[in-house]
Each structure stands twice: as structure tokens, then as C-alpha cells.
């Protein structure tokens, strides 16, 4: 006799996976008042960082600040746990200033777990999810390995690299996720059974080395910034001051490359054991050496994994070569001659979906209420995952509450660029955010992420009244200061010109607008302080924006005009039930592409590869005729 009792639970939102996407999705749903369960294969791996020990970096830093502006957790969590902070590209234009912080990995994970555990409406459950339940093209819940049913009105899949994960180095392979965590081997089949297209991607990580066996004296020290900018708009620099640790720079050399070349046939990448498509942005060291054969050396960054451990991450040397080759290869690097490898580098293969099956709210087109975020969508990176996670979490709630989805467009944030690229153009490799992907990047600066997105987070319900009022005050001060600067005239005279001379910039003969002086290449807002007698003491986050908005006004206005054009097309909606086969004069290729991607606007349609400007004209005329 079978006494097995099937346990059933009822939730509003079920989130599958508690990595960087899953945490944001679960927190957003729970904070918006919905009963939420988040699944993880191991409760000790919540918000784990299985690869690089840092958050942020070029364009990724933007994603973190945007996620924070919406009311996400990643910015707050890294502010709590960073051990070094740096603003990259500070010598370049304001659009590409990017914040990056080294994390204490264990702390990062523990703090995030603490936040999850103490959030109302949120339950954590350690279990492997094996099936999704779909009825009439609607998600109904999920089933775990034990057969327990979790009914849910909406489900968010954030499976990371765990779907049929396989770790490989040399001829050694194991069907596990990172760090030997168990893979989710069954869920892929359930997705396929429900008509979802699955792909196989690959990524990799370098070895970790015992700090005590590294000779730092031959490496270049990389210190953090003296003035620390917080990731979260809720923090002030003084809130997060701490002693910082250093990273170290060294290089590969011709001997390293020789070792790799001589053993390249033993690489699972080249021998064909690895089938998945890897990212072009983070190539393995063997890939770099083979593809850029004329480069005599590559930079290697030795980064601490945290203050709790002696493990050091070898940035720039991700590999899946056999253990003996790794041993020789790492030891050929200056300063690593006696290195003791604690963990081998490895490649990991995993299942993900074709993101073109999603709508811009990250909901599956063919299954209502099923959302996907993070690496399952073909992206790579903690920050990309978190950014999608919060959007999927918010939209799961919007779906349940039958409210308009929250969609950030390409002119509003890197998050918009990221999601639009994935959903509209698709990707053939793990997708990494880059500043060059954002066409309006001068408007999408990291310093103004809150002015772009905090109102969105507020409307969705993730930003408290108190935080929002503070935000409004900040916006007012910025506007007022810009206005004041534009209406302030500096008298010509000995005093003024002596100051101008000290900055090697031309003297003035007549009274001149302060804004015009700030625009000069030799000057900026700060440097004109002595000329500006009425200037009040303002926060750096305010003066920074004032400076940017005045100094780059010309370009900013140009981009704003481009955005106007872009918005026009974006606002031309395409009805969901449009039958492209009935639109005369469209080219066949265009019909197929449009029918499979089903763009929501003319603007989105125009970005699909294979849809020409002529097709767009035809569509416009057709829609007008309807």
C-alpha cells in the first residue's frame, strides 16, 4: 500500500534559484506584499559568487546603481560587504565612470541570506525544482524532486548555471554546478515539454591560489579609491568608510603562452568535449593566447576572495586545461612561481533558453505568468542577473495584480538596453553588458541612475515614501543649482582673471556667464568655486550632476533629440493579435522574424535583424490603415 502523501503549498510567487537574479526577484515580490517562496539547491549558496570576487565594473556598475534606484538589494549588499572600492574611467567622460568593488564573498552571501530570511512574506526552501505546472498556457506552480507541489500564481525561473550543469577541466568532468553543488538535471526536460527552446552555453573561471604562496613584491599594487562612492543611493560616503585591501597586477609571459600552445590539443575546448558557446568578453586564457597570438603578455589581476580566507582569485586566467598544464601555466607567471593551487580553474556548461521567447517584461510569450531572469536568459554576470531579477520580480507582481508591466526602455537605463537586446536581438553567447551597447549612454550615467529610475521604483511600490521625498529634494537642488549657475555672471577684473590664469585658461573682458566658464575644457564646477561668491555647500552627488549637465550640455541635448525620435517609434504600439501574414508587401524574411518575435512597438520591430526600413514603412502604413 502506498502511504505517500503529497504535500501542497500555495504561494503567490515562486522563485526558482537564489542567486543574484533570484534574490532580487524574491525580495521585490515579497516587498510588494506577495507571499513568496524562493528555492535553492543549497541554502549555503544564496547569492554565491562562484567566479570573480567583485561587483560592478564598466557598465555593470551602472546596472547595480540602476537596480538600486529601483529599490533592489545588490547595491546595499555590496556596500555592506566590500573590501575595496574603485571608480573606473575617472579620467574619461562622465558617461563611462564606472564603480567597481571587491567583495568579501562569504560576507556578501551571508548578508544577503540574512536580508532574505528577515523579509516579510518571504520563505526560503532548499529543494530541487523538477517541473513547472502549466495549464491552458498559464503557469500554475512547480513541483520539487520529492513530488511536493507548490501552487503559484506566477513563477520566476532564475536557474543560473545549474540546469544540467557540467564542470570540466582537461578530461575530468562532473555533472555538478559550481563548487560541487548539485545540478538541476530534470527541469530542462519539463521546459522542453512545455515548448520552450533550450540552448547550451559555457563559461569558466580561473584557479584560486593560496595567498601565502604568492610573491607580491614583484607585482604592482592596486589600491582602492581614497574617496569612496557608495553603490546605493541610500548610503552616504561617510556611512561606508572602512580600511581597504589591495589587489595585485602581474602579467603572463611568453613561457606561459608556450605552455598553453604546447598543450592546446588537451583542452576540452579544442578537443570538442565542450559543446556550449562561450562568451567573447571573458575568454579563457587559452582562447586569448590562440586568438591574439601576437600579444606577448596578458594582464593578470590577483584579487582576494575575502578577508576570511587566503584564497586569491587569478583574474584574467580562466581556464579548463588539464590540472598538470594549469600547474605549470600558473607557476610560469611572475610572482606565482611557488603558487599552491587551492581549486582548479574549470569551464561550466549549462542549459539556458533562447531569450527571444520572452516579452519585454521578461514573461514567456507562450506561458502566462512564467518569468525568467539571469543566466537562464543567456546573460552572464552577477549584475546583469540582478538587474533582470528585479524586473522579473516586479513584473510577476504586476501580472498577479493585473497592472501594467514595468518596462524600462533603451533611453531610460542600461537595464532597458540589456533586456531589449536579449529579447529583441537574442544572443549567441553569454551576453555581457558593455557601455558601447547603450546608444544614449551620455544620458544613462551612473551618477543619475536615481533620477532616471527611482520614480519607476516608487510607482511600482519598492521605494518608500521617505526615500522618495529625499530623492525629490535632491532633484530640486540639482535643478535649482543649474538654474543659478546659468544665471550667474562673473565680472571681468583682475581678481577673476588671476584665478582664470592659474588654471591656464583665457582671461575675460566682459562679464561672463558662469555656465560658459564651467564649459571650458580647463575648468569645471569645482574649479570655479572661488569666482562664485554665492555658492552654497552642496553634496558631491549633487555638484557632480550639475557639472555634467552643464559641461556636456551640447551632447546631452543632441542625445535628447535622438531619444525623442526613438520614443516616437517606441510609442507606436503594434496590436498583440496582428497577423503578419495578412500584411501585404512585407518581405518573407520579415514576416517570419516579426511573427516569431512579435514586437510590441514599431521601435522594437525596427531593431530585429532581418527587418528592413522598407518593412517598417509598410508596417506603419498597414497599422494606420487599420
Amino acid at each position: 500500500m502506498n502511504n505517500k502523501q503529497i504535500i501542497e503549498y500555495y504561494y503567490d510567487v515562486a522563485v526558482v534559484g537564489a542567486g543574484h537574479a533570484g534574490c532580487e526577484a524574491a525580495l521585490a515580490a515579497a516587498r510588494l506584499g506577495h507571499k513568496t517562496v524562493v528555492f535553492t539547491v543549497s541554502i549555503d549558496s544564496i547569492a554565491m559568487m562562484p567566479c570573480n570576487p567583485n561587483i560592478g565594473g564598466t557598465s555593470k556598475g551602472h546596472l547595480v546603481r540602476e537596480t538600486d534606484a529601483l529599490g533592489g538589494e545588490i547595491g546595499i549588499n555590496i556596500d555592506k560587504t566590500f573590501i575595496q572600492s574603485k571608480m573606473l574611467n575617472r579620467s574619461k567622460g562622465p558617461a563611462v565612470h564606472s564603480l567597481r568593488a571587491q567583495a568579501d564573498k562569504k560576507n556578501y552571501s551571508a548578508e544577503m541570506r540574512k536580508t532574505l530570511e528577515n523579509t516579510d512574506n518571504l520563505c526560503i526552501r532548499q529543494a530541487e525544482v523538477t517541473d513547472i505546472i502549466v495549464e491552458d498556457n498559464k503557469i500554475k506552480g512547480i513541483i520539487t524532486a520529492s513530488g511536493t507541489i507548490y501552487h503559484a500564481k506566477a513563477v520566476v525561473l532564475c536557474t543560473g548555471v545549474y540546469l544540467k550543469a557540467k564542470c570540466i577541466y582537461g578530461d575530468v568532468s562532473a555533472n555538478t554546478g559550481p563548487n560541487g553543488l548539485s545540478a538541476a538535471d530534470k527541469l530542462s526536460q519539463s521546459l522542453i515539454d512545455n515548448g520552450i527552446e533550450i540552448r547550451r552555453f559555457k563559461t569558466g573561471t580561473p584557479a584560486r591560489i593560496d595567498k601565502r604562496t604568492i610573491d607580491f613584491s614583484v607585482m604592482k599594487e592596486q589600491k582602492g579609491d581614497e574617496y569612496i562612492t557608495p553603490f546605493s543611493f541610500t548610503n552616504r560616503p561617510s556611512d561606508i568608510e572602512r580600511t581597504q585591501v589591495s589587489c595585485w597586477l602581474t602579467y603572463t609571459n611568453e613561457k606561459t603562452h608556450e605552455i598553453i600552445k604546447n598543450n592546446i590539443d588537451r583542452s576540452p575546448l579544442f578537443s570538442g568535449i565542450i559543446e556550449g558557446t562561450g562568451p567573447r568578453y571573458c575568454p579563457s586564457i587559452e582562447d586569448k593566447v590562440m586568438r591574439f597570438a601576437d600579444k606577448k603578455r596578458h594582464q593578470i589581476f590577483i584579487e582576494p576572495e575575502g578577508e576570511y580566507t587566503n584564497e586569491m582569485y587569478v583574474g584574467g586566467m580562466s581556464t579548463s586545461l588539464p590540472e598538470d598544464v594549469q600547474y605549470n601555466m600558473y607557476r610560469s607567471v611572475k610572482g606565482l612561481e611557488n603558487a599552491h593551487i587551492v581549486r582548479n580553474g574549470y569551464a561550466i556548461e549549462y542549459d539556458c533558453i533562447n531569450p527571444q521567447q520572452l516579452k519585454l517584461n521578461l514573461e514567456m510569450k507562450s506561458i502566462d505568468g512564467l518569468f525568467c531572469a539571469g543566466q537562464i536568459n543567456g546573460s552572464s554576470g552577477y549584475e546583469e542577473a540582478a538587474a533582470q531579477g528585479i524586473i522579473a520580480g516586479i513584473n510577476a507582481v504586476m501580472y498577479i495584480e493585473d497592472r501594467e508591466p514595468v518596462i524600462i526602455d533603451r533611453s531610460e537605463g542600461y537595464i532597458g538596453v540589456l533586456i531589449d537586446d536579449l529579447v529583441t536581438k537574442g544572443t549567441n553567447e553569454p551576453y555581457r553588458m558593455m557601455t558601447s551597447r547603450a546608444e544614449y549612454r551620455l544620458l544613462l550615467r551612473q551618477d543619475n541612475a536615481d533620477s532616471r529610475l527611482t520614480p519607476v521604483g516608487y510607482r511600482a511600490g519598492l521605494i518608500s515614501e521617505e526615500r522618495y521625498n529625499k530623492f525629490l529634494k535632491k532633484m530640486e537642488s540639482i535643478d535649482a543649482e543649474i538654474k543659478r549657475v546659468k544665471n550667474t555672471y562673473i565680472d571681468a577684473g583682475e581678481y577673476t582673471n588671476s584665478i582664470l590664469e592659474s588654471y591656464n585658461t583665457a582671461a575675460i573682458n566682459t562679464s561672463t556667464c558662469l555656465a560658459e566658464l564651467i564649459k571650458r575644457p580647463e575648468l569645471n564646477y569645482e574649479k570655479t568655486a572661488l569666482l562664485d561668491k554665492d555658492r552654497k555647500e552642496l553634496d558631491r552627488e549633487i555638484t557632480e550632476q550639475v557639472d555634467n549637465m552643464i559641461k556636456y550640455e551640447g551632447y546631452i541635448n543632441r542625445q535628447m533629440r535622438q531619444v525623442e525620435q526613438y520614443k516616437k517609434l517606441e510609442n507606436k504600439r503594434i496590436p498583440e493579435d496582428i497577423d503578419y501574414f495578412q500584411v501585404g508587401s512585407l518581405r518573407k524574411e520579415a514576416v517570419q522574424k516579426l511573427d516569431s518575435i512579435r514586437p510590441s512597438s514599431i521601435g522594437q520591430a525596427s531593431r530585429i535583424s532581418g527587418v528592413s526600413p522598407a518593412d517598417i514603412s509598410v508596417l506603419l502604413v498597414y497599422l494606420k490603415g487599420k
Binding site: 564598466t58 586569448k288 558601447s436 502604413v621
Partner: protein
């Protein structure tokens, strides 16, 4: 109203018609005509507001101080016009040179070239015509757009296209380097790069300006059917050309100042305009100089829309004739057997058996000329040869695109001097890149990202 951008185009059919009509539609149409048109013999300023809709005015078009043409200007005030917008129509003298010059002046003043079918599209969008008419228009947009794509790829003169592609590639490489450095500052730095960039931009600008100038000088030949006269030496290629030049009362234009060794003529036969290229005779040679000439001939044949291939029927068909035939047989070709006034030594049956259609011809007696014209018109009207209205429109587009690219590059150069950060310079560079893409028919895509990854070793 759908779109307020003002547009202009030549509305009359291609060719050397007696009159051309240029239509301008949109908000700025009136203000524009007031800038370039002077009314009456006395050339007085013209104020549209003083006149009713549907009136026509005699006067002159000016390019600054220079008088371009004597014209009639029609005024149609919104909404009583074809597009329901303010419309101006300029009737100018025939010969598309004049019409194109006027169009260039107009587009130089911030008016955009109309897309194919765009006047009709506006007419529809503004409620002037109904859906069934609009559907017909969609077909036009489609066919012309397909054509425009083909034309920008095929019809663009080989060397211009090559230069444009080279310049685009240069711009892309520089941009990719900057972007790589911005995205991966720890691997690539921009120290001292601005000076290098400034030099490269200046070089690109100079090359584009040269192209733009060559367009102005060479624009007469950029219309009509690009035709090559081919054959081995001494079969009568030059006498055929002279025959056409002498027999035809149509306009014949010498093209001065071209740098090519190959001579080109623009000549009207019936309603068709041919851009004739006389080429060096095709034959086997060891002579270095001659070899270069023959290479050029072969290249001309490759780029030609029509090949007129001449054989001497008073001599036996030999190896060299076979060679010539093999080089042209896949092209649009008219085979002329010259010297029909002499004894025929060619095996005509064999030619027919090989599926070669020919016309027996004599430059001495004029025999076969009518058949030649017939065949030409057949090919032309059966669409074997692609010649449509867009051929010169496309080219004015090219000039416009080049000028826009030059403006963007100048801006970039100015901003280097103004010490603007590199990430802003790439905005100008990519603008220039995209303008030039309008010429080569490339749409914006993933080229930049692909280039970054292909050339630079990025990431952790």
C-alpha cells in the same frame, strides 16, 4: 500630422526630358523657396504669403549669388495639396543636371531627400488617399526599396564604394579601440591617443571631401546605363562609337577631367541614355602597359550594366574572339558583327548553335542600326537592364550622406581640440559611420561590438 520634416525630390521620370519637376513638401517648404527663388525678370524677393494657393510664378533659382535656372514655381497651401502639407513645385529646364543642381541646393538647406513613395505615403497618412491606393503604394515602397538596396550595392561605381568602405572601416577601427579602452580600462589605455585620432579623422575627412568633389564633377555620368564597348583590337569599336556620336542628334557630353584612361561619353539613343565606355582591345599580350589596360577593360565589363560586344565578320572567328565572348557571355550583352559591307568569313550557324544572338552591322552603311536600337529598347523595357528613377536620386543621397559624414567628423575633430572626453567623440564617429552606411546599404547592427571582440582581447 504624421511627420513635419520637410522633404524634396525630383518627381518627373528619369532621362533628358524637356522639363523636370521638383516637389518640396512640409512645414519649411515656403520658407525655403523664399530663400532660393527670385520672382520675375527683375528678380524680386518672393513672399509666399502674398499669393493664393494654386498659383504659379515665373522667376529664377539662385544658389547664393549664382543664378542656376529660369523656372516656374507653383504654390499649394496646406491642406489643399497632394500631401495635405505645404507644397512647392519647381518646374525647371530639362536635362537632369539642372534638376539635380537645384535639388542639391534644397537639400543643402536642411531639407531631406524624400524616400521612394514618401509623398504618397504622406498623402495617405494625412488622409488624402484611401487604403486601396495605399496598398499600391506599399508595393511601390517595397519594390523601390529593394531596388535602392541593390542599386547601392551594385550600381555604385566600384572605386567609390571601395573608398567609402575603407573609410568606414577606418572609422570603425578607431571607435572600436576607444570603446575597448572604455569597457576594459585596465587592458587598454587612451594615453596620447587623441593626437593619433585627430590625424586619422583629418585624413578621413580629406578623403571624403575629395569624393564629394568628384561627385560634383562627375555627376553627369552617374545617370543612364553604364555601357562598355568590348572586343579585340581593330574590330571597329572606335568607329562604332564615332558612328553613334555622328548619327545621333541627341546630347553628347564629353566628360572632362576624369582621371580614368578609359574615355566615357553620355549619349541618348531613342529614350535611353547610355554612358558609353570605350575600352582597350581585349587580347593576349606580354606587354606590361597593355596588360594594365586590359585589366581595366575587364573590370569595366564586370561593372557594366550593358556590354556591346563587337566582332569583325570579315575575319575568321579566332581564339581571341572566343576569349572575348567567354568574358561577356554572362552579362547583358548585345553582339554586333561589324563590317557587313565586306565578305562574311564568320560561321553564323555556329554562333546560332551556341545560342548567341547577334546583329549584323556596318558602321560604313549604317546597316543594323535600327535593329540595334530595337534590341536596346527591348532589353531596357523588359527590365533586363536596371535603370530606374532612383539611379540619380540614390546618387544625390550619396552626396548628402558624404556631406553629413564630413560634418560629423569635423565635429569630432573640433571636440578633440576642445578636450571633450573620448566617450563623446565616439558619438560623432559613429554618426559618420552610419551616414556612410547609408551609401553602402549597411544598416546599423552589431558591427561595433563584433569589431571590438575581433580586434581586442577583452575582459577578465
Amino acid at each position: 500630422m504624421h511627420n513635419t520634416e520637410t522633404i524634396a525630390a525630383i518627381c518627373t521620370a528619369f532621362g533628358n526630358a524637356g522639363i523636370h519637376i521638383i516637389r518640396i513638401s512640409g512645414d519649411k517648404a515656403f520658407c525655403l523657396i523664399e530663400k532660393i527663388f527670385k520672382k520675375g525678370k527683375s528678380q524680386k524677393p518672393f513672399y509666399v504669403e502674398r499669393y493664393d494657393s494654386h498659383t504659379i510664378h515665373y522667376g529664377y533659382i539662385f544658389d547664393g549669388e549664382e543664378c542656376i535656372d529660369e523656372v516656374m514655381v507653383s504654390v499649394y497651401k496646406a491642406p489643399n495639396s497632394y500631401t495635405k502639407e505645404d507644397v512647392i513645385e519647381i518646374n525647371c529646364h530639362g536635362g537632369s543636371y539642372v534638376a539635380k543642381s537645384i535639388l542639391m541646393i534644397i537639400t543643402g538647406l536642411g531639407v531631406r531627400m524624400a524616400e521612394p513613395g514618401e509623398f504618397s505615403k504622406r498623402a495617405f497618412l494625412n488622409g488624402r488617399i484611401d487604403l486601396s491606393q495605399a496598398e499600391a503604394i506599399m508595393d511601390v515602397i517595397k519594390s523601390q526599396n529593394d531596388y535602392a538596396l541593390r542599386s547601392s550595392v551594385n550600381h555604385l561605381r566600384g572605386n567609390i564604394r571601395k573608398s567609402i568602405e575603407e573609410i568606414r572601416e577606418d572609422i570603425l577601427s578607431e571607435t572600436a579601440y576607444i570603446e575597448a579602452a572604455l569597457d576594459d580600462p585596465e587592458h587598454y589605455d587612451l594615453e596620447g591617443y587623441r593626437d593619433i585620432l585627430y590625424e586619422k579623422i583629418t585624413l578621413c575627412t580629406e578623403r571624403l571631401e575629395k569624393l564629394s568633389k568628384s561627385y560634383k564633377e562627375g555627376r553627369i555620368i552617374s545617370e543612364g546605363v553604364n555601357t562598355v564597348i568590348a572586343g579585340k583590337p581593330n574590330v571597329g569599336k572606335s568607329s562604332f562609337l564615332n558612328y553613334l556620336l555622328n548619327e545621333n542628334k541627341a546630347i553628347v557630353t564629353d566628360i572632362p577631367g576624369t582621371t580614368r584612361d578609359i574615355i566615357e561619353y553620355s549619349i541618348n539613343i531613342g529614350n535611353i541614355c547610355l554612358n558609353l565606355t570605350d575600352t582597350a582591345g581585349l587580347h593576349k599580350t606580354e606587354d606590361y602597359i597593355e596588360k594594365i589596360g586590359i585589366e581595366k577593360t575587364l573590370e569595366s565589363i564586370e561593372n557594366a550594366q550593358l556590354v556591346i560586344c563587337i566582332f569583325d565578320m570579315s575575319r575568321r572567328f579566332d581564339e581571341e574572339d572566343e576569349y572575348v565572348l567567354s568574358r561577356v557571355k554572362d552579362r547583358n550583352v548585345i553582339v554586333l558583327l561589324n563590317k557587313s559591307d565586306m565578305e562574311c568569313k564568320i560561321d553564323l550557324n555556329e554562333l546560332e548553335n551556341n545560342g548567341i544572338k547577334y546583329i549584323v552591322f556596318s558602321t560604313k552603311t549604317g546597316e543594323g542600326f535600327d535593329r540595334f536600337v530595337n534590341e536596346l529598347e527591348n532589353m531596357f523595357y523588359s527590365d533586363m537592364i536596371d535603370v530606374e528613377n532612383e539611379i540619380f536620386i540614390t546618387n544625390i543621397r550619396h552626396a548628402e550622406a558624404i556631406n553629413n559624414a564630413v560634418t560629423s567628423l569635423r565635429l569630432a575633430a573640433d571636440n578633440i581640440l576642445g578636450k571633450m572626453p573620448e566617450d563623446l567623440l565616439t558619438i560623432d564617429l559613429m554618426d559618420a559611420y552610419n551616414y556612410l552606411g547609408e551609401i553602402t546599404g549597411d544598416t546599423v547592427g552589431e558591427q561595433l561590438i563584433d569589431k571590438i571582440f575581433a580586434e581586442f582581447c577583452m575582459g577578465k
